[in-house]
């Protein structure tokens, strides 16, 4: 595979960002530290957004605590592998064309859209979150 200089540059930058991200979220507990950003939607509206609890969930995941992560934000636990799949699918688009084709079926993307909206509504209705 021929990699352009640009591709290598991006790979390095993204790798560094991901490593920093993981280190920060591994070291600090968002439920105790004060410097993590608070959810805008929650502060403005008082309702939980689909992503509320993600930071604590990531912290729990990095410590191997799946149960806690599931309580903080169940959808994040499900969505991470999905996002990874889509990310790889996008990057390998030229090579795995059939794979990319199936990933981008409109009905599949529509299902993802509906699932996020449903999760958003239901977690507020049923209180599926940790304050």
């Amino acid at each position: 595979m021929k990699l352009s200089r640009r591709a290598i540059g991006w790979t390095v930058i993204i790798t560094i960002l991901v490593v920093v991200f993981i280190l920060v979220y591994f070291t600090f507990d968002p439920s105790k530290s004060g410097f993590f950003p608070k959810c805008i939607t929650l502060q403005l509206t008082g309702y939980r957004c689909p992503g509320c609890g993600s930071q604590r969930a990531i912290h729990s995941l990095l410590h191997g605590d799946f149960a806690a992560a599931w309580r903080y934000n169940a959808m994040l636990v499900v969505a991470l592998p999905v996002m990874l799949t889509y990310g790889v699918g996008d990057m390998m688009r030229a090579r795995w064309r059939r794979f990319h084709y199936w990933l981008t079926r409109p009905w599949l993307m529509g299902t993802i859209f509906m699932l996020i909206v449903a999760w958003w509504v239901l977690r507020n209705v049923y209180g599926w979150y940790v304050p």
């Binding site: 959810c39 403005l44 859209f113």
Partner: protein, 228 residues
Amino acid sequence: MEQYWINRNGQQSGPFDLEQLRQLQLDGDTYVWYNGLEDWEKLESLPQLVAQLQQPGEPPTVPPAQADDNVDVTPESHDVAMNEENEEPEVSVPDVPTAPPAEVPAPPAIPATPQQAVPVGIPVGIPTGMPVAAPQAAAQPAPAQAAPAEDKCPPTNLVWAIITAVLCCLPLSLVAVFMSIKVKTCWEKGEAEQAQKWSDRGAWFIIASIIAGIVVQPIVTFIPLLFS
């Protein structure tokens, strides 16, 4: 004019132009190959071509160059453009309905990988427009001027839309998820320009919502402190 090769029931024929292809009344499971495809594809997996076959008389719509991917390959596409010039005399007579070329062109064999299909040692710049030149030029990656294939669809930005919606607490970017669906549906209807527009809109929407998030975040965090 784009040229197409087909393979029906193991019988390979071509090159055809779009008009001839229409008259052939191909099934969805006919294998098709043209300049820009890595390998033979079933017709049904090339919605863009199917759309073109359904609207007679219209020239094939070439989608606007894809902002992201094409930057890296610009030098190569120059090469291919030069090859294309050399083919010109041969390409410009597709009006003659059949007249199979003396030397049967060799698109990739059905099970072959593209690498195997490249005829080694044939000089690239044959000026006489031998039909051999067409598949050979195509065996190199020729993204810039190839016919719209599935992999020329503008990026859907779906990953970024989900990341901003779920990880960044910006549910507004769910609109961008909707836009990425629009990209695909427009693309499969053959509306390449519309697809590109939705792709751009989605990208800008995501960027805008991230910037808005960064701007609003401190405001929302500090204003309650003033009142407490």
